[in-house]
Amino acid sequence: MKCPHCSTTIEARQPACHKCGFSLAAMQPFFGDQWVRLERLTDAAHCLRLADRHKAEMTLDDLERAFPQVFVAFYFGSLPPVLNPQEVAFWLINNGAFSTPQISKRNEYGVVCVVDPAAGTVGTAIGYALESLLAETAPTMILQAMVPALSHAEYGGAIEAAATSVSDLLRPLAIARPITQSLSPGPHAGSSAADYGLHPLRSGHRQTDSTPSPSRQRR
């Protein structure tokens, strides 16, 4: 593992980079210490077309259906000049509450891609769970799959390429299990829509002040 800022080798349990002092706390002057809510596709740069967005949503749905533990999120926007996209992705995966269809997904199984169309840079960060499974070159391979589409400003194609690459990398490491669908609820099935991640709007309003946010739940 290398430092996202200076590429110095980082040991396990090391709180900050010995060379440059980079850590999550070092990024608070830029983004603060608050959690941020993010969709799977956050287009702050307004570079995604509607058709690309719809297609990317379906691609991500398929990926999350095939890998129930994993999610991939994308952020398109302009970054501070002093930060590279890997640093921003590192901060997002640690401080983001990603709105995925299955709210119970853990950020350790997440892959966050940050694209700055204006600067022409792209970076990625992966969680601990995926880092323990994938090779160290896996993030680079994901970026290599995205670059051809990004170089032609085909951001929808880049999303699909990244999702396909992640799927191809994870499939050999996973165990296939058939999805059983039955109309009769099983013994451990939930008794309300909230058990399936569907929260009633009215009850959600009433419980807003008392219940913690989903990201807090994760933490």
Binding site: A66, G123, I126, Y128, L150
Partner: protein, 392 residues
């Protein structure tokens, strides 16, 4: 009383004298050497001529033609038998119909062209000249072609076609040159001759062929399948190979529908003229800003593969039109169809395989093992594993 008695005697003598005179006359006629015609003495008409339709000349001789009421004519007076001396140019001295219908006498009051318009005797079938027997036209022929006036569209220095056909063709070609975009020159060759490989068509007709876009037909008499057609480059490039191939085939087929050599040439020219009018429709219309077509001296030959010369003239560009029954072409089409079918099958198989794979994936969940890593750099969910690069 005496005269009364002599009258019966005279009357009796007179009655006896009449039959005696008749008998004497009969015996005298038997002695005179008058010719006696037998049905077998009449010259037999050839089957070809008997089957022919009456020529237009018969319209001038109504008494000779078989009318609706002439069915009672004897076999010796049937029209075909009567007309045999006329059609076969027999002298008719022994004709049973008399000398009044001989051609020599008809020529006294009918023009020669009409006499010649009758059906000639059936010519022996023409034997196609083998390729090894073909010889190039001599230099004198080419010189005569080159000094032929540009206004003469029919170039026949050897006089191979009849005067009547020559007049008809000249009028026809003049009409074609007035109405069509590309005038048509016809060079008539002997049946065993061909144009040499180094022939320069542009010098023919006193250079009239090179002065403007023209079509040139080199036509060996009695062998229309060896005819060679040269078209202006513009016309040749505008038409497809299939069109040019059909043009040649149609002209040859039309010519071969007649066994007579003159009629073959006439039919060939009429069909070719029609096809040239069609060809004009395919050519782009020349505008005033374009380069004048007359400055393009190049002619391109339209040939079929079967009749392609061994070595085309250097000044001509030969385009080979594959015949319909070319086995190579059929194989190529077959292989292309086979490849298309295989490609379509593979495409369908791949499509169905991808769909089934996607369907299987929808019913399959891939579960990853869970492993814990110690935190780094203060990150609760990620220790900064990743990468970044530039794409621009």
């Amino acid at each position: 009383m005496a005269s009364t008695r002599q009258n019966p005697i005279l009357l009796a003598l007179l009655i006896l004298a009449v039959p005696m005179g008749a008998l004497a006359q009969l015996s005298e006629e038997e002695i005179l050497p008058l010719p006696q015609w037998q049905p077998g003495d009449a010259p037999m008409a050839s089957p070809e001529i008997s089957d022919m339709q009456p020529p237009p000349l018969l319209g001038l001789l109504p008494s000779l033609t078989p009318g609706p009421n002439d069915s009672a004519l004897s076999p010796t007076t049937r029209p075909d038998t009567i007309l045999t001396p006329l059609l076969t140019q027999d002298t008719g001295e022994n004709s049973p119909a008399g000398v009044g219908y001989r051609s020599a006498n008809l020529s006294t009051f009918l023009p020669e062209s009409l006499l010649n318009s009758g059906r000639p005797p059936a010519a022996p079938p023409h034997t196609p000249t083998s390729a090894s027997m073909l010889k190039d036209v001599d230099a004198e022929f080419l010189r005569l072609c080159s000094v032929s006036p540009a206004s003469e569209l029919l170039i026949d220095p050897l006089g191979l076609i009849t005067e009547v056909l020559q007049g008809d063709l000249e009028r026809f070609l003049n009409f074609h040159s007035q109405e069509a975009r590309f005038p048509l020159y016809i060079v008539v060759l002997k049946s065993d001759e061909k144009l040499p490989a180094d022939a320069d068509l542009s010098v023919m007709a006193s250079g009239g062929i090179a002065k403007k876009p023209t079509a040139v037909l080199a036509y060996p008499i009695a062998e229309p399948w060896r005819a060679r057609l040269f078209l202006p480059k513009l016309a040749h490039d505008s038409a497809s190979d299939a069109f040019l191939k059909e043009l040649l085939e149609a002209c040859v087929t039309e010519a071969m529908s007649s066994p007579e050599t003159d009629e073959q040439l006439h039919r060939f020219c009429v069909e070719l003229s029609t096809r040239l009018f069609w060809l004009e429709k395919l050519c782009p219309i020349a505008t005033t800003t374009e380069k004048p077509l007359a400055t393009d001296p190049h002619l391109q030959e339209v040939v079929s593969e079967a009749s392609a010369p061994a070595s085309a003239p250097a000044s001509l560009v030969t385009v080979t039109v594959p015949p319909t029954g070319d086995p190579v072409l059929r194989w190529v089409v077959f292989v292309l169809c086979l490849l298309a079918a295989i490609g379509t099958a593979i495409w369908h198989w791949m499509r169905s395989w991808k769909r089934s794979k996607a369907r299987r994936q929808l019913k399959t969940a891939w579960i990853l093992p869970e492993r814990d890593l110690p935190q780094r750099l203060g990150g609760a969910f990620s220790g900064g594993a990743g990468a970044w690069t530039r794409f621009r």
